[in-house]
Structures are given as C-alpha cells and as structure tokens.
C-alpha cells in the first residue's frame, strides 16, 4: 500500500504509514453528520469485509460506498427495472383497439397493425436482451470474483483463509 503516493497534507505516521484509524475516523464523521445512511454504511462494511479494498486505503470508504451503490443499482435494474415491463407488452389486439379509426382504408390499417406487431416484437426482444445481458454480466462478475479471490495474495501464508 506504500506504492500510492500520499498527498502532502495527509496525516502520516513517522514510519510513513497511514494511521489505521483514518478510515474509521472518516466513517465516524460521516455517520455523525448523517451523510452516510445506515443501510449504505452496512453495505460498505460488508463489501469492505469481502473485497480487499484496503489496498487503496486513502479511498477505501469512497470505494466501498461506490461499490455498494453500484450493487444496489445493478440489483434494481435486474429485478425491478424496465425488463419485466418490456417483456409484458400489450398484445397486438390491444394496440389495434387503441389505434384511431381514422387511419384510412383497410390497407393502411393493415400496415399500421403490422408496424404495431413489429414494435411489440422489438419490445419483447429488448426485454429478453436486458435479462440476458444483466444475467451474463452477473454470471461473469461472479466468476471473475471467484478467480480473483483464489489468486494467492502476495506474502500470504500458505493455507491462510482470506
């Protein structure tokens, strides 16, 4: 962690290390100022336990909060976003009923219905693509994290639990 240059005005111990309680103090200040809501603080604590973000100690808290927000956003997008709405589009009969009767002769109405069908098909495909994309993203993220977790940490004792 010494390879990250410290700002000139940052608190440093005589040994050249960041004090261990800088992050805790910053978190405490943010919590006292009610700048860090409790659920986010809990998430940042959990993610801090999971991810070895202490390698970027000056940014640890910021990194945790950003990671927690990213996880929340991804979960919201995956489960409560627009994907179900896109998949649950109105059938073409409803689209046809909603069309104004002044479209003209039957040929033009048929064209409009075909266009509505095409729009419906596109929406279903969009919903499926959103689900496929987010699912693939989560799957690959999990596998990448697994590979990362099982990389031997430099200097770690053999068999030590990480």
């Amino acid at each position: 962690m010494d390879e990250y240059p410290a700002p000139a005005d940052s608190p440093r111990t005589p040994a050249g290390e960041f004090p261990a309680d800088v992050d805790a103090a910053l978190e405490s200040v943010l919590r006292e100022q009610r700048l860090l809501p409790l659920p986010l603080a809990l998430m940042s604590r959990i993610l801090g336990e999971i991810l070895p973000l202490e390698r970027v100690r000056p940014l640890t808290l910021l990194s945790r909060v950003a990671a927690a927000a990213a996880v929340f956003l991804a979960a919201w997008f995956a489960f409560a976003g627009n994907a179900p709405a896109l998949a649950d589009v109105a059938p073409s009969a409803k689209v046809a009923a909603a069309l104004p009767s002044s479209l003209g002769p039957d040929g033009r109405a048929g064209d409009a219905l075909a266009a509505a069908d095409a729009l419906t098909t596109t929406s279903v495909s969009a919903g499926a693509w959103v689900l496929l994309g987010s699912g693939l993203l989560l799957l690959l993220a999990g596998l990448a994290l697994t590979i990362w977790f099982h990389q031997p940490a430099p200097g770690a004792a053999r068999g030590e639990r990480t």
């Binding site: 999971i50 998949a87 699912g135 977790f149 099982h150 068999g159 990480t162």
Partner: protein, 179 residues
C-alpha cells in the same frame, strides 16, 4: 386430543409420510456426497481446500452472483423461446453450475454436519455427511415464511456454489504422490 380425532387422519398420515421421506432423502443426499467423496478424492480435496481458503462472505459472493445471473439468464432464454438458445444455455450455464454445486456439496455437507455435532471433527465421515444433509434439509422448513426461506435458500445454494466454483477454478497443484 379432540382436535386430533377430528382432524383429517389421511392428511396427517400423508404429512407424516412426507416428513419421513424428506428426512430419508436428506440423509441420502449426505450419503451420496460421501460416496462421491470416496470415488473422487481429488475433487473432494479441491472442494475442502476451497472451503478452507476463502472467508464465508467471499464464498457467498462468488456463489450468489453466478446464481442470480443464471436465474436472470433463464428468464431471458424463456423470453427468447428458442430451443437452440435453451440448449446452449443448459449446456454452457446450467450444466457447469450444477457440477460446481455438486462439488460444493462434497465439502459443504460434511462441514455442516461437523458444525452441528458437539465433537464434530471426531465424528465419522458418514455421520457428518448424513447429518449435514439433514441439517440442510431441515433449514428448508424456513419456507413456511417465504422471504426467510428465499434468503436462506439463496445463502445455502450460493455457499455450496461458491465452494464448488472455487474447487473447479482453483485446481490444486498435483503432488508427487498423485503423479
């Protein structure tokens, strides 16, 4: 005892039968894990190493993310409605994850059993594995409260999957004895 007499006897018998069969199935799952451990000692050793190497939170994370991802993919594949895509999904996603889950069971069930026993590390492998299966099965009773059951199932399945994925991804270097 009046309520018992007035209850539907046939329903009670069916419930009792389901409980007994479920318990036998859970114990059988533990025994099956023990059989696979005996047949594939290398896979069992990799799963044990994976369980011991990572902290619980990391096991959860590396298991739950692929699990949720696979569930979302399943919904997407269902929306696509193409048999070829479904076949590819089963072959590329479901099959490897199922194998990883089974690999996780090899280490996870005996570990659960050893934690449930007072002197778990001294118990026989069969007792640990069978009790682990029973404990995991009993945990599913939490589905009487669906949110709790969902969370517990997600944690338990993700934990097994995390162990198994670690075992499949991080292969132990072969020792001279194995060579």
């Amino acid at each position: 005892m009046l309520w018992l007499a007035s209850a539907d006897t046939e329903g009670l018998l069916q419930l009792l039968l389901a409980v007994v069969l479920g318990a036998i199935a859970c114990i059988g799952l533990g025994a099956a894990a023990l059989v696979v451990r005996a047949i594939l000692p290398g896979a069992a050793a990799s799963a044990d190493a994976s369980l011991l190497r990572l902290s619980t939170w990391r096991l959860f994370l590396s298991g739950i993310l692929p699990l949720v991802g696979a569930a979302l993919l399943a919904r997407g594949v269902d929306l696509v409605g193409n048999d070829v895509v479904s076949g590819i999904y089963l072959l590329i996603v479901v099959l490897p994850l199922t194998l990883a889950w089974i690999a996780g069971l090899l280490a996870g069930l005996p570990y659960l059993g050893s934690k449930a026993l007072r002197h778990g590390s001294e118990a026989s492998p069969l007792a640990r594995a069978a009790l682990g299966g029973l404990v995991a099965g009993l945990a599913m009773v939490s589905w009487v409260l669906p949110p709790l059951g969902l969370v517990l199932t997600l944690l338990l399945t993700g934990w097994f999957l995390g162990i198994g994925l670690g075992a499949l991804i991080h292969r132990r270097p072969r020792t001279e004895e194995q060579v």
